[in-house]
């Protein structure tokens, strides 16, 4: 046991010192923090000035000039950061010429959008359309198209109001009547602690289960990488034989798993703390029960043991990091499944898919954490059964890994094939 702890200690200390580890541990919270920060800023609409968008308009009805101007003037007044410049083409004499002119301007890049307002557009329930042309649109202009479209629609509707002789007072009244304010509130533990929710709050609430699952994913997969490189390092530096003269292969493997488990817990702990601080700072309150933390730790440790056992085996039969990559692929693919299916699991935590996934051992930790953090009740029996199944799989995986490890670790030059691995497993 002492030897296992010794190996674990070295593994921990040496990994903590590596640059990849320090970068890795800093990058993730930084990225998450940055995402939260910028999402917040964007939602509040505080963006810097952007280039003016130029629009050419061929008004075939020849009647909308005033309304269009009015509509865009009011937009430009409200949005100094992003102006829209509307250029009405001369359509009175020759509409075909105007159309050609508009198309050419768009193709030559003089304008960003070319809009044709059909003649029939003034008729209510007519066949007229607003046609919006773009030519090789820029990604940065995509969102403004919605605004442009909306403004033209407003101009047309305003004109229609006039032709239909609907009095202005009535319209004002109507818009007042239609305004019904909604406030989204989250009830606090006491009445004075109710909080107003913004749209971001809602989105983030949705993201919480994903966050926990991602934490597990990163913890498991990230430390798995460390495991692989640690085993490969001992193999390529040939230190392994010296080690094996002092410790047994099992002690070595157990020590490694323990040490990197510590790394994993450190990483996840730090990230969780960072996330909590960010959440507080952004005024979000995510409540996490002790029970959930307990489950989180159990699933994390079991999931971690499962993947590291597999990866120690993989590492021991390969000679270079490059060789391991081919074998890592299928293992990683399995762990990506919950990342793809998370939305469905969160929406329907007790659905068939969620349940089936919960009992497929490599997926269990991530899927169960998703389900548990989604807020719905999960049967205690189901939690218990999934933990037992996972634990049994871990034992089997460790047993198999130890066998492969023992043989693989001393094989230089050639990689073990499936047949040899099978032989290792059968050897007692």
């Amino acid at each position: 046991m002492q030897k296992i702890l010794r190996v674990a200690q070295r593994e921990y200390m040496e990994t903590v010192k590596t640059k990849t580890f320090i970068l890795g541990i800093l990058m993730v919270p930084f990225i998450i923090g940055a995402i939260i920060f910028f999402t917040g800023r964007m939602a509040r609409g505080k963006t810097g000035p952007q280039p003016t968008v130029k629009v050419a308009v061929a008004d075939l009805s020849n009647a909308l000039a005033d309304e269009v101007k009015e509509s865009f003037d009011s937009y430009n007044k409200d949005n100094p950061q992003r102006q829209i410049n509307v250029n009405m083409l001369e359509t009175q004499e020759d509409s075909d010429k105007a159309d050609n002119q508009g198309r050419n301007k768009l193709r030559q890049g003089q304008v960003d959008v070319y809009v044709v307002l059909d003649n029939e557009i003034l008729e209510v329930e007519g066949s007229g359309k607003i046609r919006l042309y773009t030519y090789k649109p820029k990604a940065s202009n995509i969102d403004i198209l919605w605004t442009i479209e909306d403004r033209f629609r407003k101009a047309v509707v305003n004109h229609r109001y006039k032709t239909q002789k609907i009095p202005e007072e009535f319209l004002t009244k109507l818009s007042e009547i239609r305004r019904v304010p909604v406030e989204r509130l989250e009830m606090g533990s006491s009445d004075d602690k109710d909080r107003v929710q913004s749209d971001i709050d809602r989105a983030l609430k949705m993201m919480v289960p994903f966050f926990f699952m991602y934490l597990i994913f990163m913890g498991i997969v990230g430390t798995g990488q460390h495991m692989i490189s640690s085993v490969i390092e001992e193999k390529t530096s040939r230190v392994i034989e010296v080690l094996l003269s002092a410790v047994s292969p099992f002690q070595l493997m157990a020590g490694k798993i323990l040490g990197l488990g510590g790394i994993g817990l450190t990483v996840v702990g730090l990230w969780a703390v960072a996330a909590c601080i960010t959440a507080r700072w952004q005024g979000l309150d995510i409540d996490v029960t002790t029970e959930f933390v307990l489950y989180f730790v159990i699933y994390y440790i079991l999931g971690f043991l499962l993947i590291t056992s597999l990866l120690t085996a993989v590492g021991s039969i390969c000679n270079t990091i490059k060789e391991t990559q081919g074998m890592m692929m299928p293992i990683m693919m399995v762990f990506i499944i919950p990342l793809l299916a998370w939305f469905k699991v969160v929406r329907d935590p007790n659905g068939l898919m969620s349940r089936v996934f919960s009992f497929l051992p490599p997926l269990t930790p991530m899927v169960m954490i998703l389900r548990l953090s989604s807020g719905s009740d999960i049967l205690k029996v189901e939690i218990f059964a999934s933990i037992v199944l996972l634990a049994l799989t871990v034992l089997a995986a460790m047993w198999a890994a130890a066998k492969v490890f023992r043989t693989g670790i001393l094989m230089y030059g050639k990689r073990l094939g499936l047949r040899e691995i099978w032989l290792c497993l059968r050897q007692s």
Partner: protein
């Protein structure tokens, strides 16, 4: 008690028979050399003693016990493939392996500095292993092997890559340890290295023991009746001496072959009375010669 006992050990890798019916007894308190050409099965034998690979058949005992794992703390093993953690410092590597081998606390730090001093690496203590030269790396590897003062030292090609000074340093430590009652087993294919330190040798070729004996015994058995001398004066009379069968000039030395069972003392007397004797040596066949003779013969038998 025997430190190591091998009894009819067999090991094959697929088609290749690496060790064939090998039996050897290494008594405690001796330096035992496992000699043989490349690919003879030396490393395989040492690895089997260390229980890194298992013999197909046969029995291996260490300190009278068949479980190496129990004895691991009492053995220091230096594998043929050298390797240490490249990113760790010299002190840390030494301390880590010391701790893995059961040292702790004050004793650990005392042994670390003692061994750094002993292999002349004290100045390099805070450096990373990857900064060491090959020879220094090798000495550190030896220190790692011996740090816990094991009763049995198993060294696979310990002198490979060492300069003469460091080779002597290592030999001195090996002899010192032997004198403390410890056992040293080492393998080499360089015969004259073994000649200077070994008490006994095991000569292996193609997995089979060709010769296994006390070195002094081997040499006395194979002592030839050739004497090498360096003389001053007229040497023409020697040829006519009755005990001399042939004479061969080798630079300023003479190699004198004697009749069987001739008394070398008689030759000395005759020489001293006629010429000035600067050097007189009864030629003992070198291990190299024995090696070439036995292995060469073995090969011939095989083909």
């Amino acid at each position: 008690m025997d430190a190591v006992l091998l009894n009819n050990v067999h090991k094959s890798f697929g088609e290749v028979l690496a060790v064939n019916n090998l039996s050897v007894r290494v008594p405690t308190g001796s330096i035992y050399g496992f000699l043989g050409p490349n690919g003879a099965g030396k490393t395989t034998t040492l690895r089997m003693i260390m229980n890194i690979i298992h013999p197909d058949t046969g029995r291996i005992q260490i300190f009278g016990d068949s479980s190496v794992d129990k004895a691991k703390a009492r053995i220091g093993y230096m594998p043929e493939e050298r390797g240490l953690y490249r990113k760790m410092t010299v002190t840390k590597v030494l301390a880590y392996f010391g701790a893995l081998k059961g040292l702790a606390g004050n004793e650990l730090s005392r042994q670390v500095s003692r061994w750094l001093d002993r292999v002349d690496l004290t100045n390099w203590a805070p450096k990373k292993v990857e900064e060491l030269s090959r020879g220094m790396h090798q000495k550190l590897q030896f220190a790692v092997t011996a740090i816990n003062g094991p009763e049995l030292l198993i060294l696979d090609e310990p002198f490979a890559g060492l300069d003469p000074i460091n080779t002597d340093l290592l030999k001195a430590i090996m002899i010192e340890m032997r004198d403390e009652g410890k056992t040293v087993i080492f393998s080499t294919h360089v015969m004259h290295e073994a000649e200077k330190v070994c008490d006994s040798i095991l000569l292996i070729n193609k997995g089979r023991a060709v010769l296994d004996d006390n070195l002094a015994h081997i040499q006395s058995q194979r002592a030839s009746n050739v004497v090498s001398v360096e003389l001053e004066g007229d040497t023409g009379f020697i040829e006519k001496l009755p005990i001399v069968t042939a004479i061969k000039s080798n630079g300023h030395r003479l190699e004198i072959s004697l009749v069987d069972n001739a008394d070398t003392q008689e030759l000395v007397k005759s020489l001293v009375s006629r010429v000035r004797v600067k050097r007189f040596e009864v030629k003992v066949p070198s291990l190299h010669e024995i090696f070439v003779e036995l292995v060469g013969k073995g090969d011939a038998e095989d083909s």
